[in-house]
């Protein structure tokens, strides 16, 4: 039976990971991820899992590499500047085709920044921070329920494609409390088998998990295989939500917590007769192109609302049909919009484009 509980986003993420069959968590504390680390610290021993507080994020992502190489479901979490330290490891995980889940409860940057929530890691997560031609799949939850659902889903997607999957959340999602329905327990024996894992070569040929092949030709081949994989992920794994898009002429594009704030403003604006709708990307990589392709011809402007100086807007500019103008509303550094602020912006923009 599905349980309905009240939890913070951080806790929901952790509990969902455990229910998805993950028994290993390695991380270094960093605000605003701390509650997720602490939740796993007390919850994992209850399910006979392993929790290690690593000496740094540099180390944590490599401990993840080891457990992923052993064929087990594994998760780590950090925030912004800590995730930056993991980028080398993420590139290695992608190169070695290892599944794992990486949670970024982002804070304001750049540099050490401060601990207010922000969406300034969109580019770091979706455009890659590590070296080489690779992608990680990125999901952007917008509620505590989605923190659970998308984390739970991330393990399946990671296993299906043998690729790291990231959850891009922020301090507000991590620490706010909402009711949610927890996902069903996966039995460990029902998890997909991983015949490629290094588990001790008994009764089989030996396995290798390599981040560096022996020849240049092999590396070129691997890059081609990875590229094919990424094309198929782009074709199959776009996820999004559309609201009021049936007659929208002004389209708000927002992900994560910004979309929750924007939704309230949009509902007020619609009451005033403003034909505004929203495309909410849920997969940030692959960025959902289909809702933009399928939109009605009436669309006259996009308003990208994000808590940064302009990151997701680059993707919107890339894939918008025709030269529909794209406006940006947002600031980095820990700035958080209010619904009233967003409403005023929508009204002003609507007047300009009418």
């Amino acid at each position: 039976m599905n349980e309905r509980v009240l939890m913070t986003g951080n806790e929901a993420c952790g509990e969902a990971a455990i229910r998805a069959g993950c028994r290993f968590f390695y991380a270094y504390p960093i605000t605003p991820q701390n509650e997720l680390l602490e939740y796993m610290a007390y919850r994992l021993p209850e399910v006979k899992g392993i929790f290690i507080q690593s000496e740094s994020e540099l180390a944590a992502i490599s401990v993840v590499y080891g457990t992923a190489a052993a064929g087990k479901r594994v998760i780590t979490a950090s925030s912004s500047c800590g995730v930056a330290l993991m980028q080398e490891g993420i590139s290695y995980l992608a190169a070695s085709r290892l599944p794992c889940v990486i949670v970024n409860i982002s804070r304001a940057g750049p540099g050490l920044g401060r601990i207010a929530p922000s969406q300034s890691d969109y580019r770091q997560m979706t455009k890659g921070g590590g070296n080489g031609d690779y992608h990680i799949i990125v999901f952007g939850p917008a509620s505590v329920q989605e923190m659970a659902d998308l984390t739970y889903l991330a393990f399946d997607v990671a296993d299906r494609y043998r690729n790291p999957v990231a959850i891009l959340a922020d301090g507000m999602l991590g620490q706010m409390m909402e009711p949610l329905v927890l996902p069903m327990w996966r039995k460990l024996k029902d998890l997909p088998p991983k015949p490629w894992a290094v588990t001790g070569a008994k009764d089989r040929e030996r396995n290798l998990i390599l981040a560096a092949p022996y020849t240049d030709e092999e590396l070129i081949d691997i890059n081609e295989e990875l590229a094919k994989k990424y094309y198929s992920i782009e074709a199959e794994e776009e996820r999004w939500e559309t609201i009021f898009m049936g007659d929208a002429e002004l389209v708000v594009v927002a992900f994560g917590i910004s979309s929750r704030i924007a939704l309230e403003a949009i509902e007020c604006a619609r009451n005033e007769g403003i034909k505004v709708g929203m495309i909410r990307p849920i997969s940030l990589w692959p960025f959902p192109k289909k809702p933009f392709k399928n939109q009605v011809d009436n669309v006259r402007a996009y308003l990208v609302i994000e808590m940064n100086n302009g990151q997701m807007i680059e993707d919107v500019l890339l894939i918008r049909p025709r030269n529909i103008p794209v406006y940006h509303f947002g600031k980095g550094g820990g700035w958080i919009p209010t619904p009233k602020y967003v409403y005023e912006k929508i009204v002003r923009l609507w007047r300009n484009i009418s």
Partner: protein, 248 residues
Amino acid sequence: MQTFTRPNSMSMENIPYCPGCGHGIALRLIGEAIDDLDIIKKVIGIAPVGCAVRSWRLFKFDMTQAAHGRSPAVATGLKRSLPDKIIFTYQGDGDSAAIGLAELLHAALRCEKFSVFMINNAIYGATGGQLAPTTLIGQPTTSYPSGRDPRVMGYPINMSEIIAKISRNAYVARVAINSIRNIMEAKKVVIKALKTQQRQLGFSFVEILSPCPTGWNMKPLDSLKWIEEKMIPEYPLGEYAVPDSLHN
């Protein structure tokens, strides 16, 4: 009929190192130990960055690579999720004492139950001969051609002494592979390290003084002499820590 030949746990690949390089000897000792302890079906090795990166070709058991310096972290991830398997890392002096120093020390502090084999050849071989944390005072390298000057780069690091000090119930030893006697002693030590892991007693660490004729700009036979005359006085051989219940 007894035959001395390539151990069963090693593949038929040619040894891909320079003439006189110690890797071929050290890796063979590990292969022999795995044969002697009959653990080939349980072993997972980690080959990190450096000349060690291609050592995976020489073995017939499961192996993985690791980011530079992070093999103790990868080993932690493997050992904690597969506690009954035998996990070892094979790291150079840069991997263990420079970029990976934190990961190695913390694995030792946590008393992780895997084995680290550190090849100390006092130089960075794979990148062409730069200074290593274990480079000796006065020893020329491509990054400090007039020799290591303590006023600029401090003094060499003694890893075995440090690990012995910080890791409880660990097996820590330093050996050399520059002579028959030293190689035979090294083999016994490698077996003891793996036995420490088999009996789940604690961390095991073996520092192996190894020749790098190319990096040192010496003929191979001179490099064996250099280990005897210059390295061993700086890095004394011996067991620095033996766990309580490790007999024979």
